[in-house]
Amino acid sequence: MPDVLEFRDLKKRIGDAKQPGEQRLLFERVSAAVGPSDRIALLGVSGQGKSTLLRILARLDVPDEGEILLDGTPSDRVDPRLWRMDVCYVAQHSVMLPGTIEENLRTVSRLHDIPFDRKLAERLIGELGLDGVDLRKQAAELSGGEKQRFALIRALLLRSKVLLLDEITASLDRGSKERVEKTLLKWNAQEGTTQIWITHDLEQARLVSRRTWFMARNTLLEDTPTETFFRAPEAAEARDFLRIGTDEVQI
């Protein structure tokens, strides 16, 4: 099956671009591809550039080198707006827009002048355990966990081909986290949406992904089926990462 999203030899430095001496390499030689319905877990210790990679894929950031392609078309030949309608980034710290919750949910309909899919919104609200919330309430009054789930619904209503999920369950309690996982797995099965999950929750990574990308040594060190990665990771860094992660889980 043709790749939906592909990136080749991405390189990113961080720091003040005007002072090259002050910059440091975040990652380089980062290449991979994802097909329709793929589910990827993007793992690695903090500071490897996982979020930056997702932001680059959503074209909210730019790489210093390398190229990204959507359905085989290089990014410089696709309008960033159309790109983002296909490749949607959901941030770790969700931002609610000024106005009510319903106005937030209607954002996609308003931006793209398409009818508001109330039925779908209500279904997702139910699945994510938000039925009791009054949609006429100001979005700013929601709790952190509620904001995160409503922000996810807002993004799902875009029906993008690819969802880039940046630690979206980090601030959720166990019950809400499981609801999000279940909803997104169902979404993947029904809509065929490609999903790339950044997570530090290894249990979650095993559950939601078929493939794992592991970032270390300033690059994408492993790109293997999730089951293989958790059973027999190749790199020493990956073994350490899994051991520490498992210890943390046990603690």
Binding site: L60, A91, L97
Partner: protein, 247 residues
């Protein structure tokens, strides 16, 4: 006012100097420079205006207005030096506002089409547009920084630059108009505007002076509103890169 009377006004400068010396403010040099500059600039403008008023040459009138717009645009753009292309956008917005204002004033015969009216009214309108532009840029710059999350959220959902910055633009236009509206509310109660005071001192009938002041107040409010609205349409793209990311 006679030249000797004008000379006596230096007494005010002397008092200011004495305060500075007495309180050891160290401002004597600055006061001296400011005094000389203020006197020289105003006298020069006085002579230029005297010449223009009597020459009746249209090109000279236009040249002065263009110069005023140029200086005002450059000055307002200093607030956002990092944004390239701001100067000419401000210049177009001010020029359009000035054109609209003059069309109404002259077209409806509210004032005579002579340099004596056109230059002072243009000066006030351009000056107030300059302040509004400065405030607008200053506020929008802060808005974009503080609302970066909101703007990026909208971009991530496929918004255009205009859709993404709309909320910040609205707040900035409002912010740049507040001083003019506040001034309109308190004019005559808290402050007697300089133009009106000047006319009364120069011997004009106070009611006549007030009529002109009302004209000025309303036209300035109009200039500020039109100017801020135009500027928001011309300039919002400056806060985004070519590939639609927030700068």
């Amino acid at each position: 006012m006679t030249w000797s009377a004008l000379g006596f006004t230096l007494l005010f400068v002397v008092v200011t100097m004495l305060v500075s010396v007495w309180k050891k403010l160290g401002l004597e040099r600055d006061i001296a420079i400011a005094t000389v500059r203020a006197a020289a600039q105003l006298l020069a403008v006085g002579y230029v205006l005297h010449f223009v008023f009597h020459s009746e040459k249209t090109w000279l009138l236009v040249a002065i207005i263009v110069l005023m717009i140029g200086i005002a645009s450059w000055n307002a753009a200093q607030k956002v030096r990092e944004l390239r292309g701001a100067v000419w956008r401000i210049a177009i917005a001010i020029a359009f506002t000035e054109g609209l204002l003059m069309s109404i004033l002259l077209g409806l015969g509210i004032v005579d089409a002579t340099a004596q009216y056109i230059i002072p009214l243009s000066g006030m309108s351009i000056g107030s547009s300059m302040i509004a532009a400065g405030l607008f840029f200053h506020h929008l710059n802060r808005e974009v920084q503080s609302s970066r999350g909101e703007i990026e959220t909208l971009l991530a959902l496929g918004a255009t630059a205009k859709q993404a910055i709309q909320i910040s633009l609205k707040r900035s236009v409002k912010f740049s108009m507040i001083p003019t509206i506040d001034a309109m509310k308190t004019v005559g109660l808290v402050q007697l505007p300089g133009m009106m005071t000047g006319m009364i001192v120069a011997g004009a009938d106070p009611v006549e002076a007030v009529r002109y002041q009302i004209l000025i107040a309303f036209s300035l409010a109009c200039s500020t509103a039109v100017m801020s609205m135009l500027l928001s349409q011309f300039c919002y793209r400056l806060w985004f890169t070519k590939d639609l990311r927030v700068r």
